[in-house]
Subunit: 399 residues, 2 copies
């Protein structure tokens, strides 16, 4: 366990280094044309964009440097070296490195959607091969109430690999679409990372302690470098994190979920992202008109954010979108204004939903509200994972 | 061996895909500000830069897709799965992926020299750990004439790891400084790749066939994607390859050299790059003034390239640079013009050396001349490696 202590020290250095590096490289990013304008501020100065690549690189380098330490004792006894665990670490880093590259390429080149969906799938391939070789457990434990129908466990075979591949795609994109106000991307990722770390620490006493140790080896440097990024990205943002950060974060969570066998628990920590995704589906699939940006609208006079809106001409109404609008209205999930020719709705994102519930809000208050919601969801996740799981599973067979 | 056949088919598809992708993405690169102006052309239109990232990504994806094939039979018998070989593949891809990321970051951000030296070192760390775990052979076989002094072999221990780390740094930068005219970077890399492939095929009948098969698994998709890039980068270049390509290429060669134990042979294929490096040393270390660019000078009237020149004020002459200039003059390696206050020399690159020997030349002729030189050097390398090596080594202990 001394290796964890070493990792914490290494990560603390990584935090300081990332902090320093971001300060030093900011101007370089602007000079290279990598900058954006903060639409929710009066001041329209250039803010460096894609700074997630800096924290991502330091995260990778820290993990590289930690490899010889993680395998410290084993390195001295090369006959019994755990090649399979080593391959796991390498596959994890390879997938993360790929996403770092893809994210940065996306920030620079603004890639099309098909690449964004294709490449995480390919990047998770080494991961799936490692999973196949080291575990190949493709069995779901069936919840107790369903066992009379399905038996104790169901082996879904190849479908399990599809599930894991999709997990990587989902995680990378889910964070990316719950974004747009200062500090939200990094804030939510930090809370998810902390949730995973707490979960790992709880499970360190269990049978699967090795898998959870592996997860900690990845999550601790990730958390440290992300915290350094948050320092600069918090309201008012001095840097933007870019798709780079969202992709790296999503892949990192998917990697530990897959290789440490708690992918369902990782999904529990993604409740706000899942809600945001489901809520966004009608716009993502263009059942309801989706403008290029769904960011909240900033009012310079009041310094408050308002929900942004989309307009549906009544002639474009069909059974499906009418039904969706009715259901969402009934559930009080949209703010609908109807006149003769058209219906206007708030854009269907969790951020706008918060704004119609809270009313016009300062940006930093909104970020804090959303992050608090993330924390509440983490608590719910732990409730589901621990006390409630025993109703559905034998304690031994929890996964 | 059927896996090689499959790899060749996969690589052929990768070639076509790279070709198509470069055509499709060219405009996107220009739109994103990633472009350069070809200084050796009359036409000053924008040429997309850093396109090496496209061929590099396809190379990586091809290698990912090939992993399940490469380990085909072993995957069915998971009890005896060669985890160590799998870890080798992953470490190789990880190092290459890191260099792809670094190269692209360098093209976008124009990083400082210290990062260019630091990051290949860090990127080669997983490689060195794999080497330590799987082989840890740090012994040099001593050439026969020296054996009476040093014994049959010398174990240089930790220094061997320093040597391998420096090999990665050298390979990545050596290609990068023998560059600047259309098609040269990719051309030389293709010839080196072909040389390595020929060497691997020869050695496939030997004891170390597994190591050489491993090398082929990496070199074949590399060659295919680089050929597609060459098609677009050949005179007159429609795309520039960027540092990205040079870094990926250098790391790829270093990776196979290290993991397949023929790093000295790889260095033999780098003779022109070594000559260029040694010849450049006085300028790289600023013993002789080094302008920002040492590219040949283009004459629009004649469409010919001339050697570019550097000026040394006589008052700046000291013992060291005077000595260097004298030695180079004696060996007819510089074109020196001396007047009352100053000396002008050609810039010390192999490209300029060719120009002072050949006289003003068309760009495409110069590229072909340099590539022919690379081919001749490969032949010399094979001569040193095979007939001559038996004078210095027992045939069995060749490395």
């Amino acid at each position: 366990m001394w290796s964890i202590l070493f990792l914490i020290i290494l990560s603390a250095i990584a935090f300081l280094f990332t902090d320093e590096l971001i300060t030093n490289l900011k101007e370089l990013f602007i000079k290279s044309g990598l900058f954006g304008i903060d639409l929710c501020k009066v001041n329209k100065s250039k803010v460096p964009e894609a700074i997630g690549v800096v924290s991502g690189c330091v995260f990778l380098v820290t993990s590289f440097l930690f490899i010889p330490i993680a395998f410290g004792y084993s390195l001295l006894d090369r006959g019994n070296f755990p090649h399979n665990e080593f391959a796991e670490s390498l596959a994890a880093l390879l997938s993360i490195c790929c996403m770092l590259l893809l994210g940065f390429a996306d920030d620079v080149l603004d890639l099309r959607w098909r690449y964004k969906l294709l490449l995480p799938t390919v990047a998770s391939l080494p991961l799936l091969v490692v999973y196949y070789v080291n575990f190949n457990s493709t069995t779901f434990i069936v919840p107790i109430p369903l066992r009379q129908y399905l038996g104790i466990s169901v082996n879904i075979g190849f479908l399990y690999y599809i599930y894991m591949g999709m997990l990587a795609v989902f995680c990378t994109n889910a964070i990316n679409i719950l974004a747009g106000i200062n500090g939200l991307e990094v804030g939510q990722s930090v809370i998810i990372a902390l949730s995973i770390i707490i979960f790992n620490i709880i499970e360190l006493t269990g049978e699967q302690y090795k898998a959870h140790l592996f997860s900690l080896h990845i999550m601790i440097p990730y958390l440290a470098t992300s915290l350094a990024l948050l320092k600069h990205n918090w309201y008012p943002s001095k840097v933007f994190v870019g798709d780079t950060f969202c992709y790296v974060s999503g892949m990192t969570f998917a990697v530990v979920g897959i290789l440490s066998h708690f992918s369902k628990t990782v999904l529990l920590f993604f409740i706000p992202q899942i809600i945001n995704f489901v809520y966004s589906v009608p716009q993502l699939f263009h059942l309801i008109p989706c403008p290029r940006h769904r960011l909240p609208k900033y009012s310079a006079e009041t310094d408050l954010l308002h929900a942004s809106r989309t307009v549906i001409p009544k002639k474009d109404l069909n059974f499906l979108n009418k039904f969706i609008i009715q259901v969402f209205s009934l559930l009080h999930l949209v703010d609908k204004i109807e006149d003769r020719d058209q219906i206007t709705l708030n854009n269907l994102t969790l951020i706008n939903l918060f704004l119609i519930k809270l009313g016009p809000t300062r940006e930093v208050t909104l970020t804090i509200a959303l992050l608090l919601f993330q924390v509440v969801c983490t608590c719910i996740a732990f409730l589901i994972r621990y006390p409630m799981a025993s109703y559905f599973y034998d304690v031994q067979s929890k996964t």
